[in-house]
Amino acid sequence: MGRFCRLLLAFTYILSGSFVGLLVLEGILRCNPTLLQRGIALISPIDHPLTTQTYDVRYSDADVFYWRPDLIKPIAAAEDQVEAHVVYETDEFGFRNQAPIPPAVEAIVLGRSISLAAHLAYPWTNLLESRMNRRFFNLSQPGSGIKEKATFLRRFGLPHHPHWVIIEVTPSLDFLGEHTVPALFDQRMVVPVLQQLARSWIANQPVVTDNAIYPLPVALPGRTVGLTCCLHYLDFFSLDEETLRKSRDWAIYRRTLLEIVDEARSNDACVALLYVPTKPDVYFPLASHVEQLAPTLTGYSPLRLNADGWIEADPAHALTVNIIRQNALAGRDLIESLALENDLLWIDPNDALVQSVLDGQDPFMVYDSHWNQLGHQIVAETVYESLIKATCP
């Protein structure tokens, strides 16, 4: 056999072997996703089932220290306070619930890290369970988009005959990222492993904080707060409702969401959409002096619709605070109209959260965009009020 043929044969073996190996790896990661780190979007929970972890959450545990440590001024050790003592229990599937999960539950909750609340002692779901004396099955996982939510509902939720399916909606995170990527292999085959490596690499990078802007002093009515927020999704607020409505991203999200609704209803469950106000939603409209928020936009460009109807970055234009304030509720209005069109229960704690800020309180973590315990209490109260008033046979 000539040299070229031998090389070609060797290349074929390597390619075939790699493909088979990646298939086996994909199978293993799908069967045992606990091998991967929390925060990687997967179709299965990534915490070990039936375990209890006890830990303290400090300021320095916030997301921003991981994703953009260059933007945040270092915290002195003496100031790095404990924000929450957490006892994190998982059920027999790896979700955050008390085990065992009963055969029938009051509600399934499909959310992201916000409703999972790994940084808190009592997510709103726990508070509501105690209030209503009914079991909630919290299927929230960090980074789970609408497709993961659909899988969780089918695989874990519906077999437990829920009365309600509550879907957490964070437009700035949920509506984007639905591009179909032409791929030879399943997109997931290598992505979680690469994500894990990337996270590990990111965590080990030296940090330079010369351009640190957070905490950013922002004047609100009656006081000034040190605001830390606004990571990778701030550019979402550059889109108005009409642009969002026309986008293919929204079309895919909408379609999958309505499939979830149909599936839930065909299993005799009622559906509620829980809108998730983020820090920009709540604080940006309240800021007394718009220019104070300008530093948060460093490095961001607005988004636009491309010729194919996908949302993409528009680096030729500048993103301004006024644009964000104008469109702060565009995503919310769009999803609210969907809820009304399809007779879904709409739960919006935005006003309650805004009111708490105006009352001098802070419903978000200090250095993080997640709700703190007060935020979860407010949300639990809002959900409770909505559920008891709703008609669900």
Binding site: G17, P159, Q196
Partner: protein
């Protein structure tokens, strides 16, 4: 330094390269030094114990061979080796149970437990020491030079979890000049190493370890039965695969490591889950341990009892000695009632099989019986994997109580993937499935590349995630 870690593989590479570069006269001392260095990475105190045991057995061996007190010294050797093992392994078990009895009787003066760390591998090298002195007593071997004995006891590929090598088998290899393994041997060793790593890292650690959930559910004080029955069935099958691939994977790595150094260690597993009855299972599972107990306990004890009874109660003696041997095998595994129960369970199965003496010739009958055997063995593993008898009871109750949604889609895939991988390896390794030579030569490189890709990716995943390496199950014994 566990055998499935990158640090061990680098260590093995370094030792192998240096070993073959050294003049023949320096190889044994080098091998001993490397083995001691390997063991010292766990704890220097363990090394001191191993050296002490080696010296003790060396002098006892010489005493048995050259003194008048042959029988006495042979018994002294057994008692001392078992005694040392017993202190480390079983002392706390007995003290804890004694404490329970004291408390039940309302007595004071409760014995204090010993805070002793169990030296890794002690169950294996102490049994090898007993085999050494016993073989001298039986005049099967002569006392070995101290260096040879030290290498026999400490040889790093088999130090932690066997296989239990018979003294003549290893000492003969040591006494002959080492010959560099040829290309075929090296290729075979590399394949075995790869298979061992796949079994341990891919199947045992990454897949079958999911079974931990079922044991955690069973260990809960309240509501163990409230978990879905499928959870326990998943745990049942996965633990059966886990214990097999973990231990046989270790053995494969150990044998491959030894082969690189020119040593041939015996097989320890021969596709045990393909056995059609329990007797055949025990001829294929942890074969070197079974042989040890058969050679040094079962046969001698049976012989003594038969002689004393005038050969009148052969059947009863067989039953009693079988039950005793299997119970002691359970006790040898670890000091807990669950292991005693496991041993007793297997004793009962063996006795029933011996008494029924069913023989089937048809393929489908053997298949059905094989499935039954697998499940009966699996039931024993429930005790093996449980931390208390109550946990084992809850586990079995959970299996029988098929409550909760039948979420096959969730519970079945890991079992199917595990079963597929284990069966594929066993059917090919055992020669049950043979492919045409051309297909074999085409598939072989693909399977090798696939195995390496999976292992490297999993290593990167574990490295990126952090956390301790999952130890070998038998390393804890």
């Amino acid at each position: 330094m566990l055998l499935h870690t990158a640090s061990f593989l680098l260590f093995l590479l370094g030792v192998t390269l240096l070993y073959w570069r050294l003049p023949a006269g320096y190889r044994k001392p080098f091998l001993l030094a490397a083995s001691y260095a390997f063991y010292a990475t766990f704890d220097l105190r363990f090394l001191a114990l191993l050296i002490g045991l080696t010296l003790m057995n060396f002098y006892l061996g010489r005493g048995i061979s050259y003194s008048r007190y042959t029988r006495l010294l042979s018994w002294v050797s057994v008692i001392l080796n078992l005694g040392i093992l017993g202190v480390f392994k079983w002392a706390n078990f007995f003290i804890d149970n004694l404490r329970l009895i004291f408390q039940a009787l309302g007595m004071t003066g409760i014995p204090i437990g010993l805070e002793l760390l169990l030296p890794i591998g002690i169950s294996f090298y102490s049994f090898q020491a007993i085999a050494y002195t016993t073989e001298i007593y039986r005049k099967k071997i002569s006392p070995a030079p101290l260096l040879d004995l030290a290498v026999y006891m400490a040889f790093f590929p088999k130090l932690l979890s066997g296989p239990l090598v018979r003294p003549p088998q290893f000492l003969n290899q040591l006494s002959q000049p080492a010959s560099r393994p040829d290309r075929t041997t090296v290729q075979a060793a590399l394949s075995l190493l790869l298979v061992g790593l796949v079994k341990k890292v891919v199947i045992a650690d990454s897949l079958a370890s999911i079974c931990d959930v079922a044991f955690r559910a069973a260990a809960r004080e309240k509501g163990a039965v409230a978990f879905p029955g499928l959870l326990y069935w998943q745990g049942f099958y996965l633990y059966s695969f886990l214990i097999y691939t973990d231990f046989s994977g270790y053995t494969d790595i150990a044998r491959a490591s030894a082969a690189f150094l020119g040593f041939d260690l015996p097989e320890n597993f021969k596709q045990p889950y393909l056995s059609e009855n329990i007797t055949i299972f025990w001829n294929r599972w942890h074969m070197t341990m079974t042989q040890w107990f058969r050679e040094y306990l079962f046969f001698p004890l049976s012989r003594i009892l038969l002689i004393k009874s005038g050969r009148r109660y052969a059947r009863q003696i067989q039953i009693i000695v079988t039950l005793l041997t299997m119970t002691l095998i359970g006790v040898w595994q670890s000091a807990a009632w669950t292991f005693v129960a496991w041993g007793v369970w297997h004793g009962i199965l063996l006795i029933v099989n011996q008494q029924l003496n069913w023989r089937f010739s048809r393929g489908w009958q053997k298949f059905v019986l094989g499935l039954v055997t697998f499940h009966l063995v699996g039931l024993g593993w429930v005790f093996f994997g449980s931390d208390t008898l109550e946990t084992a009871r809850n586990f079995v109750q959970g299996m029988l109580h098929l409550s909760g949604p039948l979420q096959w889609v969730y519970y079945l895939p890991p079992v199917i993937l595990c079963a597929f991988l284990v069966l594929s390896i066993d059917l090919v390794q055992g020669g049950y499935v043979k492919f045409p030579a051309r297909l074999q030569s085409a598939m072989r490189p693909i399977i090798i590349v696939a195995s390496i890709v999976v292992l490297v990716c999993l290593a990167l995943v574990y490295q990126a995630k952090g956390g301790d390496v999952r130890p070998f199950i038998y390393g804890q014994f």
